[in-house]
């Protein structure tokens, strides 16, 4: 194959800047959307996969938001027969600063000692902080992301006004944890259940409430039998429970949004397809406008192969440039994209995004390349521009 008139390709870009920019832009946007959606889905699936098989969670059968009485704890402990550590969580809700959604992160009342037994293995927190939290009634620990977002340091105070519960709690940050697993987020605050319960009771509000009982099993094989045993024990009580593994619990939580992965998958696919139509149409338009030029190039002695490479390269270059830009943006907003999902962009998404951009370039360059290589010189020259 002879030398390729690359200058001609760049001259076309320069002459038709807007068209080139629009092509790059459409690929950029489609691949950007793909990158975000995939990051979101992968983040969701990874956090599910990292959920421990050794943990089971009991919640009210009525709904995730219904409370159970604290009095179930000794009964469940008895049912567990020493095969599990047990802790209790109570979703506090409440208002921090104002009702802006950005201040609406998770906050739970729990027992520092049992919490440490059940969740300690997944967390990074100094021994000092655990101790201080256990000792200080108004102490709380917060995740490192929360510390960053709200600009909180050790010793800072966090004031929450109850809405589910009555009264107000005034907390001191005694520890900032980091999580070893994605399933445990770094945007949550934990404080003493006893303090929660007493302030609400004193203000005449709800008392002795628990949202979930969480258990860490010594042996994962016990999860099925113990779950069944707990649910059976409360079957005929006013507080029927639903006990499942942490993974199933998380999946149930995720499914509040419906089948997001499927929906997002279809959405991403449709956007990419629309983009493919736009780029193919543009490339075809280019090729048609240049029929006479193609005839001239062939007359001068440029071969079919040379023109094929030139045509394909043009569409590849535009599409890959759009893809690169998109992936650059995607990986630079690494971190939290949407509420609830802490997603770092997996390298596979970057490679897939670039791959898709390349495929867009190849496919949209295919038809014009075919047109160009099939064109008879005499036919091409006959057409006046």
């Amino acid at each position: 194959m002879g030398r390729i008139p690359w200058r001609l390709m760049f001259a076309h870009f320069r002459r038709n800047k807007l068209r080139a920019a629009l092509t790059v832009g459409s690929v950029f946007m489609a691949v950007l959307i793909f990158g975000f959606l995939r990051t979101f889905i992968v983040g969701m699936e990874t956090s599910l996969a990292e959920c421990s098989a050794n943990r089971i969670i009991s919640a009210s059968r009525l709904s995730l938001f219904a409370h159970m009485p604290k009095s179930l704890e000794p009964e469940i402990t008895e049912l567990a027969e020493g095969k599990a550590e047990i802790t209790a969580f109570t979703w506090y809700g409440g208002i921090y600063i104002d009702s802006d959604p950005k201040h609406y992160w998770g906050r739970f009342g729990t027992h520092p000692e049992s919490f440490k037994k059940v969740y300690g293995p997944d967390l990074i927190l100094e021994e000092d902080a655990w101790q201080k939290w256990t000792d200080l009634r108004q102490g709380c620990i917060i995740g490192s992301d929360l510390a960053n977002d709200e600009n909180l340091k050790l010793g800072d105070r966090v004031h929450l006004t109850g809405n589910i519960f009555s009264g107000e709690v005034d907390l001191e940050v005694v520890g900032i944890y980091r999580s070893k697993v994605r399933s445990f987020d770094q945007k949550t605050l934990f404080f003493n259940w006893d303090y929660l319960n007493e302030t609400s009771k004193a203000a005449g509000g709800r008392k002795d409430c628990v949202s979930t009982y969480c258990m860490l099993l010594k042996n994962a094989a016990d999860s099925g039998p113990l779950s069944a045993k707990i649910d059976a024990a409360f079957e005929n009580s006013p507080h029927r429970t639903m006990t499942q593994t942490e993974r199933a619990f998380q999946a149930q939580f995720n499914s509040m949004w419906g089948n997001l992965p499927l929906f997002f998958g279809i959405l991403g696919g449709v956007v990419l397809l629309a983009c493919l139509m736009v780029t193919t149409n543009t490339m075809m338009l280019n090729a048609r406008e240049r029929i006479q030029e193609t005839g001239v190039l062939k007359t001068l002695g440029f071969t079919k192969g040379t023109l094929l490479v030139l045509t394909l390269t043009e569409s590849l270059l535009l599409c890959m440039f759009g893809g690169l830009l998109a992936m650059f943006i995607v990986q630079s907003v690494d971190g939290e994209i949407l509420m609830f999902v802490i997603a770092s962009v997996p390298p596979s998404t970057i490679w897939l995004g670039l791959g898709i951009a390349t495929a867009l370039g190849l496919v949209s360059g295919f038809f014009p390349a075919r047109l160009v290589s099939r064109l008879e010189i005499v036919e091409a020259l006959r057409r006046r521009a």
């Binding site: 002879g2 030398r3 390729i4 008139p5 200058r7 001609l8 001259a11 076309h12 320069r14 002459r15 006479q292 030029e293 005839g295 001239v296 190039l297 062939k298 007359t299 001068l300 002695g301 440029f302 071969t303 079919k304 192969g305 008879e376 010189i377 005499v378 020259l381 006046r384 521009a385």
Partner: protein, 232 residues
């Protein structure tokens, strides 16, 4: 037919098919063009003049008979082989100039040089030399739409010259030009023939243009009907 023929048509048929209809544009055409000759081709519209040029330049192949260049059968070459042969041996000048609008005059002229072994600096110099030969040394960085028709045709001539081919094929090169510009182009072709020894086949409708040639072939319905002037 003399022995120093550079280009020779022997029993050439060209048939175009339109649906079921067959159009015999050329039927058993014999003709020879000698090296260094300036030949004019005339004839009514649709008689097959452009078809002859296309066959001579290897843009198309005959349905029967042979077209030889320096004894070599052009029709026997592969597509790529013919493309390479064309880039070395033939320069084309069209009625519609056929310059590439997104390239400057110099870039247009340098384009065919990309198919030679020349380096980029040598290509640039050669393109500039060709533009000076056609009298456009001061318009090198102009785009085709910044040039007059006559200037465009001179750029096209420079492009045809750039690779220093032995054969120039010109299809109504003055067809779209005013009298003065037409005269400039004809002067140029005549000079290239005389001073640079280019063999030229030019299609024209203009008897005055044909006067410049050594010999004029008149064509009707795919056959030579008349020949004036002596073989060169």
């Amino acid at each position: 037919m003399s022995d120093n023929a550079l280009l020779r048509f022997q029993g050439v048929d060209k048939i175009y098919k339109r649906g079921d209809e067959e159009l015999h544009v050329l039927a058993g055409l014999d003709m020879a063009v000698n090296a260094g000759e300036f030949l004019a081709l005339m004839g009514p519209s649709g008689c097959g003049k452009s078809t002859i040029l296309n066959l001579a330049g290897g843009l198309d192949t005959p349905d029967a008979g042979t077209v030889t260049f320096g004894g070599e059968d052009i029709g026997a070459l592969s597509d790529a082989g013919r493309a390479g042969w064309r880039s070395r041996n033939v320069g084309f000048i069209f009625q519609a100039y056929n310059l590439i609008p997104v390239l400057t005059a110099r870039q247009n002229v340098a384009l065919p040089l990309l198919l030679t072994p020349l380096g980029s600096k040598a290509r640039k110099e050669q393109a500039e030399r060709a533009l000076r030969i056609v009298g456009l040394g001061d318009r090198m960085e102009h785009y085709p739409n910044q040039l007059s028709g006559g200037q465009e045709q001179r750029v096209a001539s420079a492009r045809a010259l750039a690779t220093d081919p032995r054969l120039l094929l010109a299809d109504e090169p003055t067809g779209d030009l005013d009298a003065t510009s037409a005269k400039d182009i004809l002067d140029l072709l005549q000079r290239l023939n005389r001073e640079n020894g280019k063999t030229i086949v030019m299609v024209t409708h203009d008897p005055a243009a044909a006067e410049r040639a050594h010999r004029t072939l008149k064509l009707d319905k795919g056959r030579l009907v008349h020949s004036t002037g002596a073989a060169h």
